[in-house]
């Protein structure tokens, strides 16, 4: 068997491993097996690539060492609360890799005497470069916002959509000309620069609450650029792996959009939160604030409790205190569940990872559709750092910017406790009707501190009995 044939076989096996990896990831019981088979597939593919005839290895080794030095510490020491940032960063790496390979391929083929690329290969290359560079800068922007190096508010200005779309149209036009006539080398840097710029401009108007959708979308782009690279390099393994990633990102973005009752175009060009600021005639409404002691005595008397975590829990790093609260209540015979909204947090599944980190068993983490019918039979709901996903206005108030968004039916429970820093409205700038209901009690303070106080009060009253 020739080296080339053997190499093709390694690629076929690797592609099979990747599909199995995703299949096994579907359930927690087999998920870790999925990671192992994915690693095996990757190792086989790398081995196959290294067998290519007539290679020198010096720079490959340099790249591999540098990559390991960057990748390993990021994965090993990154605290779980920073997973969204790390994910954004790795999307930018993926985009960068595809884009620079595309750039190199273009100049290799554009040189005098080289075989020119076919129109089809050139189309793939333009897509690879366009998606790659815009994913690179777009993901860096997302990283900056998540890491709070940049303001996480949406930054909007007049004519923003017009500017963005015009730039994008010029980039696409450059791409089309390059496909028709690849020898116009002057246009290539223009295409690259516009793609880089467009990535930045695309993310500027995106606010923190839209991050789950945007991260998923960038995930999809990174995959598609890898797939396009496969078309350019005549490598079906890249096409398959990139398509798997692309479809995964697509599914996640659709789920995220649905969970906010918004469309892609609305997320990307909508400028969320402006409406709320416009209609901001806020009259003072009465609400009830209680102490940890009172809250604890109500929790003790409950038999079913649902905890609703949100981004505020992640920011305050309150998940370990939440775990103590869960333990304390469970030991007194209270049935405690967690209600997880799909867009709670800054990326898909964010809350699940944080709660799992705090050792909360995953069969207690219930999805929105499954938990919603249970709220009517729930004695106490404890909302920790979640806001818009519990706002009943999404169902009742047609003028609300979040009208139509699926929410957790927290207002159906007998008693609602909200742990919150102050009465100031949430991220989207929308007042939450839930806070003014008769059955609602506000516990003001840092999520971690207040949850800790609740645990202390519960322990004290147990000891006292």
């Amino acid at each position: 068997m020739s080296v080339e044939t053997f190499q093709q076989y390694t690629y076929i096996i690797a592609a099979g491993c990747f599909i199995l990896a995703l299949k096994w990831l579907s359930r927690p019981s087999t998920a870790r097996r999925g990671v192992t088979i994915g690693e095996i597939g990757m190792a086989i593919a790398i081995l196959g690539a290294l067998l290519t005839r007539g290679m020198t290895y010096n720079w490959i080794i340099v790249g591999l060492i540098l990559g390991a030095l960057i990748g390993l510490p990021l994965a090993i020491f990154m605290p779980m609360k920073d997973v969204p940032q790390r994910t954004a960063l790795s999307h930018s790496f993926g985009g960068l890799a595809a884009a620079v390979v595309g750039t190199a391929e273009y100049y290799l083929h554009a040189r005098a005497g080289a075989t020119p690329l076919t129109h089809f290969e050139m189309t793939a290359l333009v897509l690879e470069v366009l998606l790659g560079y815009l994913t690179f800068t777009g993901s860096l922007m997302a990283f900056g916002k998540l890491q709070e190096l940049l303001p996480s508010r949406p930054m909007v200005y007049k004519g923003q959509n017009f500017v963005n779309l015009t730039l994008f149209a010029i980039a696409v036009a450059c791409g089309v000309v390059l496909v028709v006539d690849p020898s116009r080398t002057a246009l290539f840097p223009v295409l690259a620069a516009l793609s880089l710029l467009f990535g930045v401009l695309l993310i500027i108007p995106i606010g923190g609450a839209d991050m789950p959708t945007v991260i998923s979308l960038l995930n999809s782009y990174a995959g598609l650029s890898a797939s396009a690279m496969g078309f350019v390099l005549n490598n079906p393994l890249l096409i398959v792996a990139g398509a798997l990633d692309g479809s995964s990102g697509l599914i996640l973005s659709i789920i995220m959009c649905r969970a906010m009752n918004r469309s892609f175009t609305n997320v990307l060009f909508g400028g969320f939160g402006q409406v709320a600021q416009a209609g901001g005639t806020k009259e003072q409404r009465p609400y009830r604030s209680v102490s940890a002691e009172e809250a604890a005595s109500i929790l003790e008397a409950a038999s079913r409790v649902v905890i609703v975590p949100g981004y505020g829990m992640a920011v305050a790093q309150a998940q370990h205190k939440v775990r103590e609260l869960y333990d304390s209540l469970t030991k007194s015979g209270v049935d405690v569940k967690f209600a997880i909204h799909p867009v709670a947090g800054r990326m898909p599944g964010h809350m699940n990872v944080l709660l799992a980190e705090a050792d909360i068993p995953y069969d207690r983490l219930i999805e929105m559709d499954e938990i919603n019918p249970e709220f009517a039979q729930t004695d106490v709901v404890v909302v920790i750092g979640a806001n818009d996903v519990t706002n009943p206005a999404a169902k009742t108030d047609k003028t609300s910017p979040i009208y139509g968004m699926p929410i957790l039916d927290v207002d159906k429970a007998s008693t609602v406790m909200v742990i919150k820093r102050s009465m100031s409205p949430g991220f989207a700038g929308i007042d939450n009707d839930l806070y003014y209901m008769d059955k609602t009690m506000m516990l003001f303070g840092d999520a971690k501190a207040v949850t800790g106080d609740l645990v202390k009060e519960l322990a004290a009253s147990k000891a006292g009995v």
Binding site: M55, L64, G71, A104, A356
Partner: protein, 107 residues
């Protein structure tokens, strides 16, 4: 070439549908690990980067860009798999209720 073209589009189409079907079945519980795993998998662009860098060693631009690409994609390979496993290790079923020592506010 036109032959390869159609075959590649075919492969892309089939892989997309397999991806959609498989990923639809992933529990929302695991959406974060899903994203980091697909990230590691799409870092397969490493294979293309290796071929580019290794075979065009005489071309400065190709070697420079190729080494950048190897660095970026290998960082994703290593990091992606490691952090996915780190996350999945944390997902546990309910343990039998512990007694005594580890009560409420103790930790």
């Amino acid at each position: 070439m036109s032959n390869n073209l159609t075959i590649y589009l075919f492969i892309f189409m089939l892989a997309t549908f397999i991806g959609l079907e498989v990923i639809k079945r992933v529990s929302p519980l695991l959406h974060t690990p899903l994203m980091s795993l697909t990230n590691a998998i799409s870092a397969i662009s490493l294979v293309g980067s290796i071929e580019l860098t290794g075979t065009h060693y005489h071309d400065h631009l190709a070697v420079t860009l190729g080494t950048i690409a190897i660095t970026a994609s290998f960082a994703n390979v290593v990091g992606g798999f490691v952090i996915t496993d780190r996350m999945l290790k944390m997902f546990k079923k309910r343990e039998p209720v512990k007694t005594g020592a580890s009560s409420g506010g103790a930790a």
